[in-house]
Structures are given as structure tokens and as C-alpha cells.
Amino acid sequence: METSKALPPITRIIKYTLIDEVRHKSFVVMFVICAICVFLIRGCYQGNYMVNGHYLDAGTVVRALSKVTFHIIGAGVMVIAALLSMRIFRRDRNEGMQSCVLSKPIARWQYVMGKIIGLWVLSVLFMFILHSIVFLITSINLKVFMPEYLVASLLCSINLLFVVIAVLLLSLLMPDIIAFLCVLGVGIVGFVADGIAAASHSQMAQVMMPPSGASPQSDLTWWKVVYYLWPKLLGAQQMASSLIEGESFHGFGPTYPLINVLLYCLILGALLFKRFRNEDIV
């Protein structure tokens, strides 16, 4: 199919996905609550923080807190993206839109592509607006200008693509709520594993742990392989957030988490298209 002919149906399905999601009251309520929560934390920026008897300067506080907020928003929107994605196929089926669209000269891959991009764009906008609120608070109220915060937000959107594709795929194979919980589980396990790995590499952990005889670097166990191959959602987020403080990211190779998540998106995307191609439309 020519690109010029393939694109219009996809853009229309993206448009309908966006309109249909935003139309729901639950989405609006969720967005307003999130925005209020982000506004409420602005008070934290104006406190006086003391570390080891020294007062921290406002710039350091703002950057450190912004980074924490960045991660909270990133993780929160991933959960919201999963919630938005989990019922999309079932709802379209029940409301007759799936059969309406697919009875037109529109291929299944165009429909799925439209759904993926629509949900992804919506989640990215959701996250970007929340991050922009933090950016505006720090820029206007605190005079700390961090354009890299918004770049980091866009970089982090790769995680949302992973969540959308994974939930859509799993929702074709199992009940919606189980699909949501599975992806949530993947995220939590990854976050916890990355947290443990980061803690074990900290100076304090190195001091506390006695050195073993064998070289631990060469000791490649199965769980290490699993750990390295596991979707690096936190890794991608950390990589993005490293832009905020201009620090170097050294958890893995600098771009490994992004490549890892991107590869998962491609693999799961291919499986999603294949699965939907064989799906019976009711």
C-alpha cells in the first residue's frame, strides 16, 4: 500500500482515539488530580534544606527536587498509560467501532498503528504537561530555568510507548485487568531490581560488603542475564533525568536502557500486529 494512501486512515484513527479518550470524565478527573498534585508540591521547593550542617542553595534544591518529581511523574504516567490502554480494544469492540472501521478499506495494521500512536501521543502529552508545570514553577517562581527538563520528558516517552504496546498486546491474550497488572509487575520488578543494583554499587554498600575471592565482574549468573535483559524502564528514566543535572549516566552503557526499551517496543509491536491480524472481529 502506498504511503500517501496508508497515512490518512491512520491519522483519522489517531484522532478518534484521542477524542474518545479525552471525552471520558474519568480521564479529565485523573488529569486534574495529577495537575493539582504537581502544583501542591511546589511548596517543597521553597523550604530551607540543611545537609551535614550546611544550608543548600536554592538551585541545588530545585534541581534535586525536580529530578524526584520527574521520576514520580514518569512512573505515574506509565500507570495511567497502562490504564488507558487496557480497555481500548474491548471498548471499541463493544461500541461497534472496531467492526465499523475494519469494514471500510482500512487494513488491520493501520487500525492497530492508529491505536498505538493515539494512546502514545495522549500519554506523552499527559506527561509533558505535568512536567511543563514543574518547569514553569521552577522558571517563574524560583528563577531556575531548566529547558533540559522538557527534553528529558520527551526522551522518557519511550517508556510510555513500551507500556502502551505491552498492555495492548497482553489485553488480546488475557483479561484486561490481568494485562494491566502484568505490565505493572514488569515495571515494579524492573524498578526494584534497578534500585537494588544502584544501591549495591553505592560507596556505602561497597564498604559494607566484604570482598570475595573470585572476581564478581566475571561471574555471569542467570539472574544477571535476566536483569540485563529485563525492560530497563527505570534505566531509561534515569538516563533522561541525567540531563536535568547535566550529570553523566553510568548505570549501564549510556544508551543501553533506551536501546533495551526500544527493542522491546519493536518486538512487542511485531507480536501485537501479528496477534491482531489473526484476531476474530466480533
Binding site: 461497534g96 471500510k104 472481529i281
Partner: protein, 234 residues
């Protein structure tokens, strides 16, 4: 226009459609008849590529049903048609027009014409959630007529309608007859079929029993219903 060649569809151990072959010519008003569970809806779904045949092939306008292009110029009305409750009938028709790549001004004209045709003037801007089943069915038929399709595939268009609704839909379908459209009507309302269609096929337990012009199927003063019962009961 429509061609089925040795089409078989199996769901695990159940054979829903068993080696069915027939064709429907351009301009024909064709009815696929059969009792509940005969495999009629499965054939419609295979025509629209909603489900794939286990073996055999289906083609529309000479293009295999697995290609999206074959659905150009096709209108489809599903059994128990659904429309998102938050849309109005008008918005739904516009959405269908957009999906068919009809430009905005043409789409508005077509929507106006279709609303008039289905007799829904004055209710087109109300939310679908406030519509009765018959009204939803009419808008479904309206959506199927969007873009002046050459082939209309209707799966139980009068399912769940009251006698007045059935009559109105029948009159609407009869009024379309002179427009050179091909119709594939899937129904078990034999009296309606007899009034609307030229040819019919009777299917039972996935097997094609007969396919011919209705006058050729109905013989010796019998009605289509008598013939249908005789064929289905064996």
C-alpha cells in the same frame, strides 16, 4: 461481485462452514438463509475478513477478502449494530464518511441525504444513548449507505425490531433496489426475503443446501418458508 470457493471454517472440533461455494452477480439482491447457528454470520465475517477461513477463498470484486482494498464501495450493517453512546447519529455518520475518505462538504451533503432517507430528521443531533434499538439500526443502515456503496452486506438488519421497524427497513431496502446496488442479505425472516430478494441460498449446519433464483426454489405453490423448513429438516 462475490465469490466463495470451497470455503471451510472450523472452530476447534466444530465445523461452522463446510466446503461452501457460490457466487453473487453484480446487481443481484441475494439472501443467505438458514436457521440460527447455520454459519450465515460466519460467512459474512469471512467476506469482511473479520475472521479467516480454515481453507478456501473468498473474493469481492475479484480481490481476495484478505485485502483491505476489496472493501472499497462496500456498506456493512452488523447484526445488533452498536454505535458509541456518546456520539450523536450525525457525528457517527460523519465519522463513517471520514473513514471512507469523503471530503467534508460532500460528507455533510451525504449525511443530510442519508438522515432523510432513514427518516431520522430532527433526531440526528441527539446522543445515541437516547435512541431506541430501531433508531440505532436505522443509523447503522445509514452508515452502510455512506459513500454510495456498490455492495451492501446486511447481517440480520431487522434483528430485534418491532413489526413497524421491520416494515420500515424493508421499505427502505426496496427503495434502494433500482439503484444498481448488489445486496447480500443475511436473514431468517423468510417473508421479508421473499419480498426483497431475487436469489437465495439456504445453508444448514455449515453446508449449502441450495442456491438459486427464489422462484426456482419455491415450487408448486409453496412459500419460501415451506421450502426452507423442508430443506432444513431434511
Amino acid at each position: 461481485m462475490i465469490e466463495l470457493k470451497n470455503v471451510t471454517k472450523r472452530y476447534d472440533s466444530l465445523t461452522a462452514v463446510d466446503n461452501v461455494s457460490f457466487s453473487v452477480k453484480t446487481g443481484e439482491y441475494f439472501a443467505l438463509l438458514g436457521p440460527n447457528g447455520a454459519g450465515k454470520t460466519t460467512i459474512v465475517k469471512m467476506l469482511l475478513d473479520f475472521t479467516r477461513p480454515t481453507s478456501g477463498s473468498l473474493s469481492l470484486n475479484g480481490i481476495l477478502s484478505t485485502h483491505a482494498e476489496c472493501r472499497t464501495s462496500i456498506g456493512y450493517l452488523a447484526e445488533n449494530h452498536h454505535i458509541p453512546s456518546y456520539l450523536s447519529g450525525w457525528q457517527y455518520l460523519l465519522r463513517c464518511a471520514e473513514l471512507l475518505d469523503i471530503n467534508r462538504s460532500d460528507a455533510m451533503d451525504q449525511c443530510r441525504r442519508i438522515v432523510e432517507l432513514i427518516g431520522m430528521q430532527g433526531r440526528e443531533y441527539a446522543k445515541v444513548g437516547t435512541y431506541s434499538k430501531g433508531m440505532i439500526q436505522r443509523f447503522g443502515l445509514g452508515a452502510a449507505l455512506m459513500g454510495d456503496p456498490k455492495l451492501l452486506i446486511l447481517d440480520e438488519p431487522t434483528a430485534g425490531l418491532d413489526p413497524i421497524g421491520i416494515r420500515e427497513i424493508r421499505q427502505l431496502l426496496e427503495s434502494l433496489k433500482g439503484q444498481g446496488m448488489t445486496m447480500f442479505l443475511n436473514s431468517h425472516l423468510l417473508s421479508e426475503v421473499e419480498k426483497i430478494c431475487d436469489t437465495a441460498a439456504i445453508i444448514n449446519r455449515g453446508t449449502l443446501l441450495v442456491k438459486d433464483a427464489i422462484p426456482a426454489i419455491v415450487k408448486d405453490g409453496d412459500t419460501l418458508e415451506d421450502m426452507f423448513v423442508r430443506l432444513v429438516k431434511g
